[in-house]
């Protein structure tokens, strides 16, 4: 409770207030708009940190409930749809991530134009959806916020994007909506099989999980629906093609938010809905999706090796990394899943950092083609160093977030009793080499070596807001990388050990 209201609600209230504030701003008054954006996002960060601390305090005090801060307001009582909120460690981590990235994003789009007001309106609407998604434990509300988060992308990319923005925006929106079409069917199906015969149907995730009443055959039908539905947003092969085009065309802050947070909605949903509610089906069908995700891990990395557009490179590397998330989730054991969540955090921060830097570089050189750039280390050392750090994080250098996440995933996945899973884990491991290849290729080409284009020589290094947004992200990346146990405990607590051992997947 905070000021007599459930603390989680503030994660929706604050963005909504920001929306109202933005409405009141004059059209092109950057000062007002920035004030609203910065104040709001700072509040969000502060609030999420407070939530984290408070959550840990409660756990330390011996709270053993699956979800904390649970609260439920009746909405459509006849369909038993509630505005049910609640968080466990995973959601807390995700909320923290989102808050940080929104914060960094609003700094990264300091000088956005045209129509700064509308830009921030849509951006904040998007983040409203994101936060709502993470706090809600009611399938309906979850889905609603999910779609709220999706649709602003269209205008954000279409209006402020670059390149083939209209095509990319339309493609992205339609593909994601296609995913949510399957998802909607799956969710409604879950609702109608949520409880044993004759009881009050429910949308509440926790209740459904407790009852565990979804009939086996229905699980086999509903699991793929939901998993694919979320998987599309998780950039699962072969439904990932929206991601390269979308990211390439999106403006900086949007790429940050989209790769950093939105793609995590996919992984989170896969975990929270598909896995959590239908473990048996997950166990039986895992192999199909393991193959798909395993492919996207290696495949994404390989196709990143030959791209020449910076954003395409990172889009494909996101495909690879997010593939790893789904891959680990499918392993159905605590360690791997912890790894998956940490990978989400790590990838979120590091990709956001990447896209922020790319945006800043692009804003100066007006090209994203690595063949036309070189030796930027000489010209804009700060950005270059940040880029190197981001790259190191992405190829899994210890002390940065990527390493711990990937290692947790690999070790966890390798604990699987089944040989097939272990072999696939090894396949996934190969991605670390390929990642190194394309990261170093970019770093070597872009930052080192002689200066390619002498016009670049008079370019300036980062401005203070750019530094600020970059440093924020780097600090977080390093924090996860140096104190992983803090995060893994935060996440791990929320799996009850029974959950997976019943499936007999761990030695």
């Amino acid at each position: 409770m905070l000021f007599g209201l459930n603390i989680l609600l503030y994660f929706v209230i604050i963005p909504v207030l920001m929306l109202l504030g933005l409405f009141l701003c004059q059209k092109d008054n950057m000062k007002q708009i920035r004030t609203v954006a910065v104040v709001g996002s700072t509040l969000l960060v502060a609030l999420s940190v407070y939530l984290l601390v408070d959550y840990l305090a409660l756990r330390a005090a011996g709270e053993t409930a699956q979800m904390l801060y649970t609260d439920s307001w009746c909405w459509f009582e006849n369909l038993n749809i509630n505005l049910a909120v609640g968080v466990d460690g995973i959601s807390v981590a995700m909320i923290l991530l989102s808050a940080i990235i929104v914060f960094a994003g609003s700094f990264a789009s300091w000088k956005i134009n045209p129509l700064p007001k509308d830009f921030f309106l849509w951006l904040i609407l998007l983040s409203t959806g994101v936060f709502g998604f993470f706090i809600s434990i009611d399938l309906f509300t979850m889905f609603m916020f999910y779609e709220v988060a999706l649709i602003p992308m269209y205008l954000l990319i279409g209006l402020w994007g670059t390149g083939r923005k209209e095509y990319s925006a339309m493609k992205l929106t339609l593909m994601l909506m296609g995913g949510s079409a399957f998802l909607m069917l799956g969710l409604i199906g879950i609702y109608f099989h949520s409880v044993p015969e004759g009881q009050q149907l429910t949308w509440n995730i926790v209740e459904i999980a407790e009852k565990g009443a979804i009939p086996h055959d229905w699980q086999l039908f509903l699991f793929p629906m939901t998993f694919v539905g979320f998987g599309v947003l998780g950039a699962m092969f072969p439904f990932h093609t929206w991601s390269p085009d979308g990211h390439a065309s999106a403006p900086t802050a949007v790429s940050m938010l989209h790769a950093g947070v939105l793609m995590k909605l996919g992984g989170y949903g896969c975990f929270r809905v598909s896995m959590y509610l239908m473990p048996e089906a997950a166990n039986e069908l895992a192999w199909i999706f393991l193959i798909l995700t395993g492919i996207s891990v290696v495949y994404g990395a390989f196709s990143a090796c030959v791209q020449t557009d910076l954003k395409y490179i990172n889009a494909y590397s996101s495909v690879s990394h997010c593939g790893l998330v789904l891959f680990a989730i499918l392993m159905l054991n605590t360690t791997a899943m912890t790894g998956a969540i940490m990978q989400m955090l790590s990838h979120g921060l590091m990709t956001a950092l990447f896209f922020a830097l790319i945006g800043m570089i692009y804003g100066r050189t007006h090209t994203r083609d690595i063949r036309e750039m070189g030796g930027l280390m000489k010209i804009m050392p700060f950005l270059a160093v940040c880029y190197v750090i981001a790259g190191m994080a992405s190829l899994g250098l210890p002390g940065l977030s990527g390493f711990v996440a990937e290692m947790t995933i690999f070790v966890g996945s390798f604990q699987h009793t089944d040989m097939f899973h272990r072999v696939f884990t090894i396949v996934a491991c190969c991605s670390i080499v390929i990642t190194a290849v394309y990261i170093l290729r970019v770093v070597g080409k872009l930052l080192f070596g002689p200066v390619q284009d002498e016009h670049h020589l008079k370019l300036t290094d980062a401005t203070w807001w750019e530094r600020f947004s970059a440093i924020t992200l780097i600090v977080c990346v390093a924090a996860i990388g140096c104190f992983p146990n803090f995060f893994s405990d935060l996440i791990k607590f929320t799996f009850d050990p029974e959950f997976f051992t019943v499936l007999g997947l761990i030695k």
């Binding site: 093609t241 196709s303 690999f410 966890g412 080499v433 070596g449």
Partner: protein, 642 residues
């Protein structure tokens, strides 16, 4: 013992890295340089004291009543907990080899710090250089004191990264960038093997901890019994994969190709990383896991073979190179191969695993004299501004200190008593002969080659002819550069007399070294002959080398081109990986996968274009469709439902 000292050993370099890395550009070169050097100096003192305490304090923590040296984890903090059994800890393990490595690393690192003050004077990015040096020292120290295999892996990666940064120090030089990239990726590839090895071992032993693994491997790895994978027992697979990691770092064939290129880095860096410390990490790794290896002798045999081949290969190539740093690089590869072989041939039943001791001993001595040689080479390059010995000659007059120290280094590596190399190499050969005569003879031959190419190098630099150095005559460097040379030279002279076996054996039992004179004499004879040959060929300018070159043209060109390994790799990476894998995949993604997604849209549009005739605008057609629709509706139900 209290943990502050060990903690400081790690903390000081790290602190230095952060300090210089974040605020370096605010400092003057001098300040930054001296800060780094002092920091390293403190670390050196602390490391020495720690090692001294370990070996001589005789506290029951370190040595038990039976006189066995023990492994003692000074501290061991949980860093990341996977499962209740599989935990990554960051700790500080004191045992003979780690104590020995502490000494080696801090010594060399300090020397290099000192040396660089002169060598890198006035370089752009001086502070960055020292920051990276500190980072490297930190990672290397962390690696050797690792209490569990995963901690080792972590620092393993860090070492790789800092090596990457230091090789690419001159980042505007494309060759340097390429070299650093190559180094990182090749070792990364090896690390993949390491990682998978870790996964396999930890899966069966369900622990990362070295002590637990090595204390009684038979029972820990009992669960691997019988599980085969592609013809090899999983334990063999695990060990070989782990060794693959070692091969990468220690530049064993065929993963050696990065090391010669790594010479693009500043010479002191080559001395520190690519001669003395990092490249022996592989040897150290195998030594750490040695008790497990002897469970699985097949793995050890593989180690031996790889080592032996590499040793010969590198020695041959070293005879043909003209870039002095490359010669030294290949000699490094060959010498490390010596250590690897000696581990491979070590058997516990013979002299407390003589080979193990020998390889560690050689590691120690080699670190000293190879660093010496590299720093000497640095001084030479500093003086004549060229890497090729063709630009040198007759330098003994101009640079006496360098000359003497270099000579000592050469004698040491050639295995001439009483210099350090002789003793360690002799032990290795003994172990080899004991294992099988083949390896004994083989390695003796390689030792001969070593002596030959080292003296070839020596003569070409300091004797041969006397080119005209133009207006500025070469001279010894400033004292910061000479002092390390002198110190290292002294060590190289005396190090051999250290009773190494009393300190380091695989199971901690004390072992009194005694020279096996048959082996010793043979090796000395071989070495002397080789040196004599070199003297004949290179002491004065003459035509013999050219004639010999022409006599063995094919062999010579092949060796000169390092037997075309790089070309092979270029082929594999560019032709195969990029053109035959990546590009097709990228194309497939753009055109097939993406095309399918787009085709949904196009198909929809196509369909809507096709059926537009339905809306013909004629009311008669409307009602016609209407009626037909109604009747079809009825008809369909009549047919299908009833």
């Amino acid at each position: 013992m209290d943990i502050t000292m060990p903690l400081m050993i790690l903390a000081i370099p790290l602190g230095m890295f952060l300090l210089l890395g974040l605020f370096g550009n605010k400092m003057s070169h001098k300040l930054a340089g001296w800060l780094g050097t002092l920091g390293m100096g403190t670390a050196l003192v602390l490391a020495y004291t720690t090692a001294y305490q370990y070996f001589f304090s005789g506290s029951e923590l370190f040595i038990n009543a039976a006189g066995e040296r023990l492994q003692h984890a000074v501290f061991d903090y949980t860093w990341l907990e996977f499962t209740e059994k599989l935990i990554i800890k960051l700790g500080f393990l004191l045992d003979p080899i780690s104590a020995m490595m502490l000494v080696v690393i801090t010594t060399i690192s300090f020397m290099v710090h000192l040396y660089s003050l002169g060598y890198m004077h006035g370089e752009k990015g001086f502070q960055r250089y020292y920051a990276f040096l500190s980072l490297f020292s930190f990672s290397m120290l962390g690696l050797v004191v690792a209490t569990n295999i995963f901690q080792m892996y972590i620092f393993w990666e860090l070492v790789g990264a800092s090596s990457y940064l230091l090789i690419g120090f001159y980042y505007t030089k494309p060759s340097a960038v390429a070299a650093s990239k190559k180094a990182f990726i090749v070792t990364r590839f090896a690390d993949l093997g390491f990682l998978i090895g870790i996964l396999i071992l930890s899966f069966y032993s369900s622990t990362f901890d070295f002590v637990t693994m090595t204390s009684n491997p038979q029972s820990v790895f009992a669960s691997t019994a019988g599980t085969m994978f592609m013809g090899g027992s999983v334990l063999t697979w695990g060990l070989v994969l782990i060794f693959m990691g070692g091969m990468g770092k220690s530049a064993m064939m065929p993963l050696h190709i990065w090391l010669p290129d790594a010479m693009e880095g500043p010479t002191p860096v080559s001395a520190l990383i690519h001669a003395a410390t990092m490249v022996v990490a592989g040897v150290f790794l195998v030594a750490r896991m040695f008790p497990v290896y002897i469970v699985q002798e097949s793995a050890l045999e593989i180690v031996t073979v790889v080592g032996a081949l590499t040793a010969l290969y590198a020695a041959i190539v070293a005879c043909t190179q003209i870039d002095i740093k490359r010669v030294l690089a290949f000699s490094t590869i060959s010498q490390i191969a010596f250590m690897v072989v000696s581990l491979g041939v070590a058997r516990p039943d013979f002299h407390e695993g003589l080979g193990y001791m020998a390889s560690m001993f050689h590691l120690f001595t080699h670190a000293m004299f190879k660093a010496l040689l590299f720093l000497g080479a640095g001084a030479l390059i500093h003086a004549v501004h060229s890497n090729d010995y063709t630009a040198m000659g007759g330098l003994r007059k101009y640079m006496p200190i360098t000359h003497i120290s270099f000579l000592i280094g050469c004698l040491a590596i050639a295995g001439i008593p009483p210099f350090a190399g002789f003793f360690s190499k002799d032990e290795i050969l003994t172990a080899a002969f004991n294992n099988s005569p083949l390896w004994g003879i083989w390695m003796t031959g390689v030792a001969g080659l070593t002596a030959f190419y080292m003296f070839r190098l020596y003569y070409r630099i300091f004797w041969w002819n006397n080119p005209d150095y133009g207006h500025h005559t070469p001279h010894d460097g400033p004292w910061t550069m000479s002092l390390p040379l002198i110190i290292l030279a002294t060590i190289s002279c005396v190090a051999g007399f250290i009773p190494f076996g009393e300190f380091v054996t695989w199971n901690g039992h004390e072992y009194i070294i005694h020279l096996d004179w048959t082996v010793a004499t043979t090796s000395i004879v071989v070495a002397v002959c080789a040196i004599a040959l070199a003297t004949v060929m290179y002491r004065k300018e003459n035509a013999i080398p050219t004639r010999m070159k022409n006599a063995m043209k094919g062999l010579w060109t092949a060796a000169y081109n390092r037997f075309y390994f790089d070309e092979l790799y270029i082929f594999i990476t560019h032709k195969i990986i990029f053109n035959l894998v990546s590009r097709p995949i990228a194309w497939f993604d753009r055109h097939i996968i993406d095309g399918t997604m787009d085709s949904f849209a196009t198909m929809t549009n196509y369909a809507s274009e096709k059926i537009k005739g339905l809306q013909s605008g004629s009311v008669q057609q409307y009602v016609w469709v209407y009626l037909v629709g109604a009747l079809l509706l009825a008809g369909a139900v009549i047919v299908f439902v009833i």
